[in-house]
Symmetry: C2
Subunit: 457 residues, 2 copies
Amino acid sequence: MAERMVVIGADATGMSAASQARRLRGADELEIVVFEKGRHASYSACGIPYWVSGDVAEADDLIARTPEEHRARAIDLRMRTEAIELDIPGRQVLSRDLDTGAETWTGYDKLVLATGATPIRPPLPGIDADGVFGVQTLDDGEDLIEALVSSSGRDAVVVGAGYIGVEMAEALIRRGFRVTMVTRGSEPMSTLDPDMGALVREAMVGMGIRLVTGTEVTGMRTDADGHVRAVLTADTEYPADVVVLGLGVRPATDLARRAGLPLGESGGLLTDLAQRVRGHDDIWAGGDCVEVLDLVSGELVHIALGTHANKHGQVIGTGIGGGYATFPGVVGTAVSKVCDLEVARTGLLEDDAERAGLQFHTVTIESTGRAGYFPGAEPMTVKMLAERRTGRLLGVQIVGREGAAKRVDIAAVALTARMTVEQMTALDLGYAPPFSPVWDPVLVAARAATRAVARGD
Amino acid sequence: MAERMVVIGADATGMSAASQARRLRGADELEIVVFEKGRHASYSACGIPYWVSGDVAEADDLIARTPEEHRARAIDLRMRTEAIELDIPGRQVLSRDLDTGAETWTGYDKLVLATGATPIRPPLPGIDADGVFGVQTLDDGEDLIEALVSSSGRDAVVVGAGYIGVEMAEALIRRGFRVTMVTRGSEPMSTLDPDMGALVREAMVGMGIRLVTGTEVTGMRTDADGHVRAVLTADTEYPADVVVLGLGVRPATDLARRAGLPLGESGGLLTDLAQRVRGHDDIWAGGDCVEVLDLVSGELVHIALGTHANKHGQVIGTGIGGGYATFPGVVGTAVSKVCDLEVARTGLLEDDAERAGLQFHTVTIESTGRAGYFPGAEPMTVKMLAERRTGRLLGVQIVGREGAAKRVDIAAVALTARMTVEQMTALDLGYAPPFSPVWDPVLVAARAATRAVARGD
């Protein structure tokens, strides 16, 4: 008799796991059932801001594989079906059809939790008003675009200044809205140290975004119909026909919590290196609902990124398919685009490093993305953190134009290999005038960091 | 009494060494004398094709620091002065002033050989005719541009299809010449495997370059004035008012050879890791005149690239300045631009790997430089070599549009860290739709290579 694999959540992790398991084990060996509470499966959540902005024409473009395509590969994908209870001793899942309300218990041999994350909604007055959107799923994106199209007013407020907030602010500007961003941080792009975030501020202001920093949102003012009309702060209010929450996300693990599965400090599921939930050999979890090992700090962290989610799905599907694969951890890489500014980070920010008990030197250098004399050479700023005494690379942040973002990959690999900044100075990186100065900006930073480590005690 | 550092050759290695030594030791401690036989110092040789094409307006743009600027920092830079003999037991250099013919012996405590490389000129009839150019120094570039400007005819032939040949072919097209490239290889871009070179052929033909492959040049036909008029092959001839040699370079080590210094198979000087000539504690060498350790094959190789030359200069200047630095070796990274095609390689080609006694699997994958649904997503082809059984990464070649070239840096760092392709599959690379699909093309290749290694025995 075939084993049954039950997957909860049909986006990056869930469907990668299902597809990879199917590749390794045919339908006669393994039955695969997937529950998805939303209206879409296998889509690029990271593409939503570009759909909102109009860069990407329609939601379908973001969909890698339709439910029908999955079903054609013998994956029993049940849309609009929410898993509402786990019976772990009994190895079964209770699900509800959101259209009919029918509830069903489904037994499993292998269970995959790929429940994703939900936007953080602080308990403020009016936070659940009409017109206030978190943007995490394609359904969220669909709802937001509908609201933007039908909105009578043109004022939008983005609350929070992480990369999703920044990307959404740009998308809203391009949709013709007046955009205000309110953040309690001192600079936008909270995934960077403030000194690097300051470089992003300029690009955002240049786009016409009003930036309100160092300011807490205290609530929303709503009209008689319960629709948001303004975002409130201690001192004033900002008119808002649409509000986008960019305050980050939290793991969607209520179901797992109720079933008593082990959760970390962030609320993310705890797994082993094969992505099996700790203490449970027949339950896997991955993507935005788990904690991952930060290979630089040695700590467990929650990072919601499609790239990790896909890798987790691959590892889970390989494991359930009878192969062997692990997810060793992350180094904290993230890249983003703000107008024509490219923003990247990997490893630890200063605060992260301090919290982890690390002492370090920082350097910030200015260079260019191409040879200085080559047409189109634009400034690039690289900040580098190196551990005191050992000189081990701890983190890199880059802000610049063309070629800035993916340059951070050099540091991502160096972090993975636990290189020192001095070892990095000898890296044999690609050099030709259209692509780099003869000393790549990352090497210039590594040289400066090497000197800083040598000078330090 | 101050020590005296004598440097032969005033480009990347020589002047980096002189500048770094000066930074660490003042003029009261260290006298620095530099001999340069040419008319220019401290320039970007790699920028010459872009000067010929017109992308870079003038030679001065390629000059990082003028002789006067060097002299202002107490570096006694003697231009148009050729070192013609080394007296190693007597620790002195004989130089000749090329304008006056005056010859002088200069004693040294520390000697730096930074004599660069010269274009290979096979002993063919007419190879030294007027109108036949190697392009290695800024003087060469100056001579070529003068010839292009004054040429009555518009036919140019590039002999050889390495990256300099390819860059020069594009530059000549942009100067309004009809360009034929003749190469004995089966495809252009001999720094790639032929299957990847085939992707470059298309771009070159698209630019209007006539490609003659699999063909040996047998000589040049010259006119009564001794000016080249055609490039000859066994079967036919190609009209040529200008010929550019792109057959590679050889280390310019005649001086060193006559002095009995140790040379490798390529004719490049042999050094230790601190760039001291083997067996000579007071003689350093670096840049295009030395052999370097290929960290992937374990062999000594000759690679003429400004990026290595600058690093060597830095290491030499640090050593002579009393500090400590080494150059551990290269992994064979090179990037280039052909029209809007980006071309990159690092590590070993198939032939290199075979010659080194390595057995390996190869995979070639097609992906895109951005998320497939993102505007401007263009194809990218990645070829990867992984060692049989161990799965160690051996080499990567990439051909694509925007973002292809510098992606090779991921592999360059992975090679340095001796990662396996399976380790690479877990790399935390930058992902956002404008910069990469959720599986970066390099990761897609690493996954395919991992499967190939697993399938192999």
